[in-house]
């Protein structure tokens, strides 16, 4: 069948600048460039280009420009180029359209409608360069009250605390599985988290044994497929996360295609080489809040009640009620993953249409738990589309304790959000397990880039806090007085619990 699809991008090469070094040819994992010996020219196959910008960055003479294909179907507000392309692709393959990364549509972003406050005249702002600023955050269940006895002049805490995690900045690396990415990505995240004093998350593909040494900074995930989940994996961790859902694909499972299950992946996932690693949509031992409690306590029993248990859900319509159930089921931390959350592979139709924005989820969950008097019993981590330090501050002001970032972390390592993670050919050496391609990511460099990102965002957060006259992140948590909204409806304002700008 002849394909009616147009190339998405056009590769333009300035042949005067091109020195025929062929760097683009060796860098492109999709085979978009080739050398024509007869003409002594490097040429391109536009249809293979995914606009990852790898060749552009590595071209020593800046000879390459990638452009959107100017050829497009007749302009139509309904039958857009994207809509027509999708239908044609499905007509040619009969398949579900896959994509990578988070939702790329312009809707659903409330961060940009929320503005932060600053001190003027009536209370002084704080200069974070001179004054101590507290970003340290403790995650875990907090008691309803503390009993402190005075014994011979010493204050002694009598209340037995639930296990707590101490992080130096309210930013954690979200779940990225080994299999969807290479071990080098895991190593980079682990090293950066350990050095900075925060946490990273294995995702559901298990943890390679040689990274066990970063266990104190590692959140290990337990999902429906239970890949690589065994007592040692649970016990070397800092915390355990039960994955119920993911913002990019709420309500559906996932699978790692058999061709990606190499010898090394099979060792970590503990499945045979070459078989599909299937994570079913539901965990078949969890059909209710009571069942969730059962798994939470099974994990607590397996780890002597020493680890906080996270429960991660996709933000959906009744997240607030579900979150209340999760607290009552005994979770120490709730992770909310909004509709803009990233993924290595998801059906595009699910990614762009299922779930709710994280901003709404944070606000409604925080509000509900406060109303029920159980907010202290759980920490909330917001995930899904945190793009800057301002988003972090806004998420915390809305009611989160901390945020998870994954896409931002990948971008820091080199990702350009070309959305082709599912091909396993990531030219930046990230979303691939190919030993040859994954060597492009050097953990020494990537972990440094991640550290820099954490450092830069943390400084920006301190600046914003200082401007508000706040010197501890705790004072910002759920402090919606420091937020004002522009361009939102009454209903949106009510759900967010935020006043309009000028009010």
């Amino acid at each position: 069948m002849k394909s009616y699809l147009l190339p998405e991008y056009m590769v333009e090469r300035d042949h005067n600048r091109c020195i025929r070094c062929k760097a683009c040819i060796s860098q492109c994992t999709y085979g978009a460039h080739y050398y024509d010996e007869e003409e002594d020219m490097v040429l391109s196959k536009d249809e293979k280009c995914v606009n990852c910008q790898r060749c552009v960055v590595f071209c020593p003479t800046h000879a390459i420009t990638i452009k959107n294909n100017p050829n497009s179907y007749r302009e139509n507000a309904n039958w857009t180029h994207e809509v027509i392309t999708a239908i044609k692709k499905q007509a040619e393959t009969g398949g579900i359209i896959l994509t990578g990364m988070g939702c790329d549509k312009p809707y659903f972003t409330y961060w940009d409608r929320l503005l932060l406050n600053a001190s003027q005249v009536t209370n002084p702002s704080i200069d974070p360069i001179r004054e101590p600023m507290e970003l340290r955050t403790y995650l875990g269940a907090k008691p309803d009250r503390l009993r402190i006895d005075v014994e011979e002049g010493d204050y002694i805490l009598k209340t037995k605390l639930a296990p707590q995690l101490c992080i130096e900045t309210p930013i954690l690396f979200s779940a990225i599985s080994y299999g969807s990415t290479s071990i080098r990505v895991h190593e980079s995240l682990a090293r950066a988290a350990s050095e900075y004093g925060t946490l990273w998350n294995t995702g559901e593909g298990g943890l390679a044994r040689r990274l066990y040494k970063y266990g104190e900074h590692t959140i290990v995930q337990v999902a429906s497929g239970r890949f690589g989940v065994h007592p040692e994996y649970l016990n070397i961790s800092a915390a355990i996360e039960i994955k119920i859902g993911q913002g990019a694909k709420p309500g559906i499972g996932g699978h790692l295609p058999g061709e990606k299950v190499s010898e090394e992946i099979s060792r970590t996932r503990m499945i045979p080489v070459g078989t599909d690693a299937i994570s079913s949509a539901p965990q078949h031992d969890i059909y209710s809040i009571e069942d969730l409690a059962q798994l939470i306590y099974a994990l607590k029993e397996a780890t002597d009640y020493a680890k906080p248990i996270f429960v991660k859900i996709a933000a959906v319509h009744n997240s607030a009620a579900i979150a209340s159930g999760i607290v009552r089921a005994g979770a120490d931390v709730i992770v909310l993953d909004g509709i803009r959350g990233g993924t290595g592979a998801a059906p595009r139709i699910i990614r762009d249409n299922v779930g709710i924005p994280i901003e709404m989820a944070i606000a409604s969950v925080d509000q509900r738990l406060r109303e029920e008097g159980i907010r202290n019993r759980v920490s909330i981590i917001a995930a899904g589309g945190i793009k800057s330090s301002a988003d972090v501050v806004k998420a915390i002001a809305l009611g989160a304790d901390a945020v998870y970032i994954a896409t931002a972390a990948l971008v820091a390592m080199g990702c350009t959000v070309c959305q082709k993670c599912y091909t396993g050919k990531c030219p930046w050496g990230i979303a691939t397990t190919d030993p040859w391609i994954s060597k492009r990511l050097n953990p020494d460099v990537a972990s440094k880039r991640l550290m820099n990102l954490l450092k830069a965002w943390s400084m920006e957060i301190k600046e914003m806090m200082g401007g508000m006259g706040i010197n501890a992140i705790e004072s910002l948590r759920g402090n919606r007085e420091h937020l004002r909204a522009v361009g939102l409806t009454e209903t949106e304002l009510r759900i967010l619990g935020v006043k309009a700008a000028g009010e």
Binding site: K89, Q90, E92, T93, G94, G95, I96, I97, L98, S224, G225, R226, V229, H230, P231, L234, H255, P257, G258, S266, R267, M270, I271, P272, G274, T275, D276, A277, I278, S280, H284, D285, Q294, Y297, A298, L299, E301, A302, D304, Y305, P347, Y422, T423
Partner: protein, 267 residues
């Protein structure tokens, strides 16, 4: 020994009257004891190298065996609760009674022998060790069961099992012996092997439906050898006649493909 008694009674004072040490076996009456206390007792004993424990009046306590690190034999009298042996890594548990749901959840090593029935999702995501159920089980037995390297889990059910046997099964062995089927009677199970992409189900007796991801074929010589070994061991536990069981007709249900989701997507 006094030391252990003291440790146990520290967990729950009344246990001092309910704990006995006889013939190298610790015998504890756990009637009405919360599961976390019960499991703490097991852990204390296990940590001190106790090899044999008998629990009496077990009544719904969950996670028995979950936190035990080394080899130990636990005989359970009564009805343990859900998640018996969840994440278990080595112990041998013998239950004189029925077990509830999710027995052997994500089990890594060890054995669970049940002189009775088991509930739903027995052997969920089990990766190693063995589970022998003398009678029958509920729905979704062996869901997500897998194998890896030298770990090949084995789940044997003497009687029958309900729908979705071996759902998403990726490895290991399930054997359903159909001992309680009357002549001409079939298993009631439907959708056997839904999403199955590895492992094998040996079954005596017809099922109502097999999923499109699986197919029933005849056993080859290698299969008979494996089945013989499993049935022998099963029969030793429950005093059944292995020869008689193995005289019967068996089929094996295997996946059609180890890549059931290969053709689903447009790239």
């Amino acid at each position: 020994m006094i030391n252990i008694e003291r440790l146990v009674s520290e967990i729950d004072a009344q246990l001092i009257f309910r704990t006995r040490f006889e013939g190298n076996v610790w015998k504890i009456d756990v009637k009405g004891i919360h599961y976390w206390k019960l499991n703490k007792i097991l852990k204390v004993l296990n940590d001190r190298g106790v090899k044999k424990i008998e629990l009496y009046n077990v009544h719904g306590q969950r996670y028995i065996g979950t936190n035990l690190k080394s080899k130990v034999n636990v005989e359970v009298y009564g009805t343990p609760g859900n998640d018996l042996g969840a994440f278990m890594n080595g112990p041998e548990i013998v239950v004189h009674g029925n077990v509830q749901d999710c027995c052997g959840n994500t089990m890594n090593e060890g054995s669970i022998i049940v002189h009775g029935n088991a509930g739903d999702i027995t052997g969920y995501s089990m990766r190693g060790g063995k589970i022998f159920i003398r009678n029958s089980t509920g729905y979704r037995v062996g869901v997500h069961m897998k194998e890896y390297g030298n770990k090949r889990p084995c789940l044997v059910i003497g009687g029958t099992a309900q729908d979705f046997i071996g759902e998403y099964m990726a490895g290991g062995i399930i054997a359903i012996l159909g001992l309680n089927l009357k002549s001409g009677e079939h298993h009631k199970a439907r959708f056997v092997g839904t999403g199955m992409h590895g492992g094998v189900i040996y079954i005596h007796g017809e099922v109502r439906s097999i999923s499109k991801e699986a197919e029933a074929v005849n056993l080859n010589e290698e299969d008979w050898k494996i089945l013989y070994k499993i049935v022998e061991e099963f029969c030793r536990c429950f005093k059944f006649d292995a020869e008689k069981i193995l005289e019967q007709n068996f089929k094996k249900i295997i996946p059609v493909s180890h890549r059931p989701y290969g053709m689903l997507y447009a790239y």
